[in-house]
Each structure stands twice: as structure tokens, then as C-alpha cells.
Symmetry: C2
Subunit: 141 residues, 2 copies
DNA sequence: ATTACTGCAAAGCATTTGCAGACTG
DNA sequence: CAGTCTGCAAATGCTTTGCAGTAAT
């Protein structure tokens, strides 16, 4: 289940804040926004403090390949998720914006056929959109 | 090649601005940002005017299913493309942000397997990212 | 001690909104 | 003419940045 706990890069200080942010991401099975992370950190309070630190930490983690930043259609905030859980793709409800994980990846069996264009593929991002169960039921309103 | 020219929805006025914005999108084979559209409209000048109208028109077009709004990873601006060209997917250079179109769609032959989760899939969005040819050559810098 | 990090406040930037005047049908 | 649109300017909301004090190594 747990992979190696992950090593702090040298020169990077292991602060309380960073460890807490990591812990929050680790406990969540869904990608989180900077704001929702900071809310968790502040114990539910809406204190705006921390937010810039959260962003800076997320940038750092992303640079260090610890997390992945994803930006979802019609959602104004970026979401972040531990790479441990990465290479998952998501289905997003166009109504309530809830996020469901896809079990497998269409790209596993697909050749994008870009070699003639000299494009070196590093990765990919896939999103489905549609209606989740509860919003589907209310579509007529 | 050309599908039906598309009908203006009733109640929606056919103004000079809207027609020009449509024309710009029609001439471009790549998705464009609101800003780049407005630059084209202003004949290359950086006039900030128009921008809100461009956004409003793009929102309208999107609502009327004339265009599709896409938001690309690590790119802060939304991009818009005529649906006539839609259901294409893109490879984006992580360095210079140039956009290359993919010829075919991995989802054509893929079952996301979400029916058990009661998610009604309306559509999808796929992006590859990596290095385009010219950036690949400069990677060492 | 050094060097990196945090909190705070202020700035940036894409996008949205309010409003009065201008234009379409 | 009536009802929509446009331009302008100001507001919004997420994210970034500068700086002086604080904490990690």
C-alpha cells in the first residue's frame, strides 16, 4: 500500500507546514485545491493565512515531482494530488463538479502517432465530463 | 469540408463584433485565447478594448454549442475552438506552449467503465504534453 | 550563524460585471 | 422603438511576489 515515504530533496527544509500539507494530501483520495488544503490546515476556519505558503509548497512539491497539478474544465481552481495516486484520470460532473476516478487509462493501448511531428510525449491528461448520479436526477429542474 | 455555415439562434443579434470573432476562429486551425482573438480584431494593436466583448461573445458561442472552451495544463488562459474542428485533441509543448493536433482519439476504442458509478459521460478532453521539436533541441540549456 | 521559509500585505492577471450610450431587428 | 449589445472601467477571485521577521540545519 504505502510506497517509500519519499525523501526530502537536499537543501529543502522539512518544516512543520510542509509536512502538514503533505499529510493532508496523503489523507485525501481526491485531488484538492490550495484553498481546501488551507482550510484543512486551519482546522475548518476560513483564515486566509497560510494560503501563500500552501501555494509555494505545492509549487515546490510539483517541481520535486511529489505531486501533480491538474486543471479541470470549467473549474477555476487548480487541483493537486500526490503522485503516489497519480496516473489516474477523472470524470468530472459538469453540474456539481464532483470528481470520480477512472480505473484504467485509455492511453495504455493507444498510439498517438506523433512521431512524424517530432513531438516527444512526456505525459497526458484525460478528463471525462458528464453528470454524476445525484445531479443526473435533478437535470430537469 | 465546410459544414452548414451555422445559424444564429433567435433572439441573438448578429453584430459586427460577433461576426468578426466568428471569422477569426474560423480562419484559425488552432484553439485561440480571448486575448489573441482580440489582438487579431484590433489589427495587431494591443488595445485592451473589446476584450470583455470577446469574452461575452465566447461565452455566448459556447452556450450555443458553436465553440468549445478548453483549458490547458499550466496555461493560465482558456482557449476556444470552433466545434466544426472539435473532437480533436492536442499535444502541448511544456516549454513554448505550442499546440499540435492529434489525428485520432483514444476514446474511440475505450470503455471508461463508469456505468457502475452511475456517471453519464457527455464528453471528454485529452491532452498530451511533452517537447515539440524546436524546444527538444534546446533542452540542455 | 547561515540560509531557507513563513506570514502578511500588496500586486498580477485572466475573467466577469455594472452601466450608460449605441446599434440591431 | 424596444430590447440587445458594446465599450469602458471597476470589481472579482485565484495565484504570485516582496519583504522583514522566524525557524531549520
Amino acid at each position: 500500500m504505502s510506497e517509500e515515504p519519499f525523501v526530502w530533496p537536499k537543501g529543502v527544509k522539512k518544516t512543520k507546514q510542509r509536512m502538514e500539507i503533505f499529510a493532508v494530501l496523503e489523507k485525501s483520495d481526491k485531488p484538492m485545491s490550495a484553498f481546501s488544503i488551507s482550510k484543512k490546515l486551519n482546522g475548518g476556519t476560513d483564515k486566509n493565512t497560510w494560503l501563500s505558503t500552501v501555494y509555494r509548497t505545492l509549487d515546490l512539491f510539483e517541481k520535486e515531482k511529489i505531486i501533480t497539478k491538474i486543471s479541470i474544465m470549467n473549474q477555476d481552481m487548480a487541483l493537486y494530488t500526490l503522485n503516489r495516486f497519480a496516473h489516474h484520470h477523472y470524470a468530472v460532473c459538469v453540474d456539481c463538479h464532483s470528481v470520480i476516478e477512472m480505473e484504467n487509462c485509455p492511453m495504455e493501448t493507444f498510439d498517438p502517432n506523433l512521431t512524424d511531428k517530432n513531438f516527444r510525449v512526456l505525459g497526458h491528461k484525460i478528463e471525462l465530463y458528464g453528470y454524476c448520479n445525484s445531479c443526473e436526477l435533478q437535470v430537469e429542474k
